[in-house]
Amino acid sequence: MPAIQIESFRKSYGDVTAVGDLSLSVAEGELFGLLGPNGAGKTTTMETLTGQLVPDSGEISVLGVDPVAHPTRVRERVGILPEKESPPSFMTPREYFEFVGAVRGLASETVDERIERWADRLGFAAKLDTMATDLSRGQQQKVMIAGAFLHEPALVFIDEPLANLDPIVQERVKRFLRDYRDAGNTVVLTTHDVDVAAELCSRVGVVYEGGLVADVRPADLPAEETLLDVFLDRVDATVDGVAGDA
C-alpha cells in the first residue's frame, strides 16, 4: 500500500484554481519532493493531505486514512512542518515540546528524552527556556522541525525545512532526513529550491499551475540533464524570465 495516494484532486479558492487535476502516489520509504515555483499549489496539496483543507473533488488516502473524513486521525499519525508557522510566542521551546507531547499523548519521560536529543542535534540546548518570541528565526525553525518529528511518525510533511538555517544546521537536517528515510519512514518535502530537491529527494514531482508536470528520479537523470533543466523546461520558464512574458 502506498503511503499517499491522490486521484484527480482539485481545489480552488473562489475563481483561483490552486490545484487543477492532480494524481500522485508516494511509496512507503520514499523521500519525495514536491517542487514548484511560488503559487504552484504545493502548500495547498500538503494542507489537503493533512486534513487542514477540504478538496473540491478527488480521492485521497494517507497511510490508508481518508484525511477529508478523518483529519484528526491523519494528523495523529503524521508529522507536519508548516512553512510559515513558528512556535507559540509565549512558550519556551521546552514547553512547546511538552505541549506537543501532551496533545500527541506521549509519556513525559519520552518527551524529555527527545527534547534533549533534538536540542543536541540542532544546537538549541541553551535556548530551551527562552520565550519563543525572543528566539531568532533560525532558532524558531529548529524548534518547529523538532516538533514535527517529536512523535517519530512514519510519514512527515515538511515545507521548506531549511529556511533560515545556517549551513551547518542545514547539513545536519539533510543528514537526519536521509537517515529517517533509510529507517523506513516516508518524507514529503515541499520546496521551491531545485538544489535541495535534487540533493535530498529520491523522487521529485514538479508541480506548476496546479498540476503535476514532471515526475522524475534525480539519480536516474542522464548526465547531461539536471533537475533544474527539467524544472525550467516543464514550468515554461527561462532564467531570464517566464517565456510567456517576452
Partner: protein, 480 residues
C-alpha cells in the same frame, strides 16, 4: 525630515492603516463603518435620552469611551505587536522602519501618532459626534442648524482631545515603565497625585475634555490643554518603539499548570495571557475600565434624576460585558493555523478556549464586582441578582462572540454587518435590564426573580450558541 518626506510618510502610514484594517476586517465592510457608527450612535443616543436619561450622561459616557479607545489604540500599535504578528504573520509597520531607512525615529513616532489621530478622528469620532448631537437635538427642542453645528464641532474637538489623552497616557505609561524604577516611581506619583486630588474633592472632571464640552471657559480650556499636552509630551519623550527587549528566560511552567488544568489548549491559552504584555492584570484592567464607566454613569444619572440606580443590577450587567474583553485576551496570541500541525479538531480548540474562559472570565468579573458592589452599597438581593446577571451575561456574550467570529473576536468591531448583528444581540437582553437597574431602583423582589431567571436563560443561550458555533467554524476553517 526635509524635502516633503514627512508628508509622504504620513500619507503612506494612512494608507498602511487602511490596508491593515482592510486585511483584518475585509475592506468593503470596513468602508461602511463610519456611516454605521453615525446611525447606531444616533439611534442609541436618541433612544436613551428619549427614555429619560440626561444628555450629560450620554456625553460623559462618550468621552470616557474616547479615552478608552485612545488607550487601546496606543496599546494595539505598540504593546500588541506580538498579538498582531500572531494574527497577521510577519508584520512590519512603517513606524518601526527607522532602523532600515534614513528617517528619524522621534519624527516617525510623531507622524504615527498624528496619523492615528487624523484617521480615528475622521472615521470614528466625527460620525459619533454627528450622530449623537443630531439625535439629542432631535429628541429635545431643535436648537437650530448653527447651534447644532457648533455642538457637533465642540463635541468632535473634545472627543478628539479625550482620544489624544488616552493615546498619550498609553505611550507615557509604556515609556515610563521602560525607564526602570525611576520611571515607574514618576508614573506612580502622578497616579497618586490624581487620586489624592480626587479624594480631597478637587473637580478633576472640569479640567478634562468633558469639562470643556460642558462649559468651554478659558480656565477649563487652558487646564485641559496643559494636561493633554503634558501627557503627550511625556509619552513622546520617553517612549521608544524600537527599543529591543532582552530575551526572556522562564522556568518550565506548562507541565505544572497542565496537571491542574487538564486540557493542554486551555493551559497554553492561560500561559499566553499570563506572559503576553500586561499579564493577567490586563484582563482585570479591562474589567476595571468597565467598572469606572459604570460608576461614572450611575453617579451622573443619580445626580441628574435624583434616583440612585441599583448598584447590583447596573454593575452586574455592565461587568458581564467583560466576557467579551476576556475572550479577546484569550485569543490574542494564536489562531487556528497555529494548531493545524497537531491532531486537534476545531471542536477541541474551542473546548480549550471555553475551559480557559470559564476559569478566567466569570472569576475576573466577580473579583471586580464584589468589592465594587460592597463599596456602592444596596440591598443584598440586588447584589446577588447582579452577580447572577454578571455570570449569565458573560456566558451569553462568550457564546455570541464565538458563534459570530470564531477565533477572531476583534473582527466584528470593524465589520459593519457583523457588528450590527452583535450590537442587536447585546441590546435586546441588556437594555431592559439596564432600564431596570437605572430607573426602577430599588428593584422589587418579583423583578429580581425575573432577572435571576433571565440570567440563567442568557447563560443557556450562550452555551447553545457555542455548541452551534463549533460545526459552523469547523466547516469554515477547512474551506480556506
Amino acid at each position: 525630515m526635509p524635502d516633503g518626506r514627512t508628508r509622504r510618510v504620513f500619507v503612506a502610514m494612512l494608507r498602511e492603516e487602511w490596508r491593515l484594517h482592510g486585511r483584518l476586517f475585509r475592506g468593503s465592510h470596513f468602508a461602511l463603518f463610519p456611516v454605521f457608527v453615525a446611525v447606531v450612535t444616533a439611534g442609541a443616543a436618541g433612544g436613551v435620552v428619549g427614555t429619560g436619561t440626561a444628555p450629560e450622561t450620554v456625553y460623559a459616557g462618550l468621552h470616557a469611551l474616547a479615552v478608552v479607545f485612545g488607550l487601546h489604540t496606543g496599546s494595539i500599535g505598540f504593546v500588541g505587536r506580538d498579538a498582531i504578528d500572531d494574527l497577521l504573520g510577519d508584520l512590519t509597520l512603517l513606524v518601526f522602519s527607522a532602523r532600515t531607512l534614513p528617517l528619524s525615529q522621534p519624527r516617525l513616532l510623531g507622524v504615527f501618532v498624528v496619523k492615528d489621530l487624523v484617521y480615528y478622528a475622521l472615521l470614528f469620532l466625527l460620525p459619533i459626534s454627528l450622530g449623537t448631537a443630531t439625535a439629542i437635538a432631535a429628541v429635545g427642542e431643535f436648537p437650530g442648524v448653527a447651534s447644532l453645528a457648533g455642538t457637533t464641532a465642540l463635541l468632535w474637538a473634545t472627543l478628539t482631545c479625550a482620544f489624544v489623552l488616552g493615546m498619550g497616557a498609553t505611550l507615557a505609561g509604556l515609556g515610563l515603565a521602560g525607564r526602570g524604577l525611576p520611571g515607574r516611581a514618576v508614573f506612580g506619583a502622578v497616579l497618586a497625585a490624581g487620586a489624592a486630588a480626587w479624594a480631597t474633592g478637587v473637580d478633576i472632571a472640569a479640567y478634562t475634555p468633558y469639562g470643556v464640552f460642558l462649559a468651554p471657559t478659558g480656565p477649563r480650556i487652558a487646564g485641559t490643554a496643559v494636561a493633554v499636552a503634558a501627557v503627550s509630551l511625556v509619552g513622546a519623550a520617553t517612549f521608544d518603539p524600537t527599543a529591543r527587549r532582552p530575551a526572556r528566560t522562564v522556568g518550565p511552567t506548562f507541565r505544572r499548570w497542565r496537571r491542574r488544568l487538564g486540557d493542554p489548549v486551555a493551559t497554553k491559552t492561560l500561559l499566553d495571557v499570563h506572559r503576553s504584555s500586561g499579564g493577567f492584570a490586563k484582563v482585570l484592567f479591562s474589567a476595571g475600565v468597565l467598572l469606572g464607566v459604570t460608576v461614572g454613569l450611575t453617579d451622573l444619572a443619580g445626580r441628574i434624576t435624583g434616583v440612585a440606580p441599583s448598584a447590583g443590577i447596573s454593575l452586574g450587567a455592565m461587568l458581564g460585558l467583560s466576557g467579551f474583553t476576556t475572550y479577546n485576551w484569550l485569543t490574542q496570541s494564536d489562531d487556528v493555523d497555529a494548531y493545524r500541525a497537531l491532531p486537534l479538531s476545531v471542536a477541541a480548540l474551542f473546548a480549550g478556549k471555553l475551559r480557559a474562559f470559564l476559569l478566567l472570565g466569570p472569576a475576573v468579573g466577580l473579583a471586580v464586582y464584589a468589592p465594587a458592589v460592597v463599596w456602592r452599597g444596596g440591598p443584598v438581593g440586588e447584589a446577588i441578582a447582579g452577580a447572577a446577571l454578571l455570570v449569565g451575561v458573560a456566558c451569553y456574550i462568550f457564546g455570541t462572540t464565538v458563534y459570530l467570529t470564531g477565533f477572531s473576536p476583534n473582527e466584528f468591531l470593524f465589520d459593519t454587518a457583523l457588528f450590527a448583528v452583535f450590537g442587536l444581540a447585546m441590546v435586546v437582553p441588556l437594555v431592559p435590564v439596564l432600564v431596570v437597574g437605572f430607573a426602577l431602583a430599588p428593584v422589587s423582589p418579583a423583578l429580581l426573580a425575573a432577572i435571576g431567571l433571565g440570567s440563567v436563560v442568557l447563560g443557556l443561550i450562550g452555551v447553545a450558541l457555542y455548541r452551534r458555533a463549533v460545526p459552523k467554524w469547523t466547516r469554515r476553517y477547512r474551506q480556506d
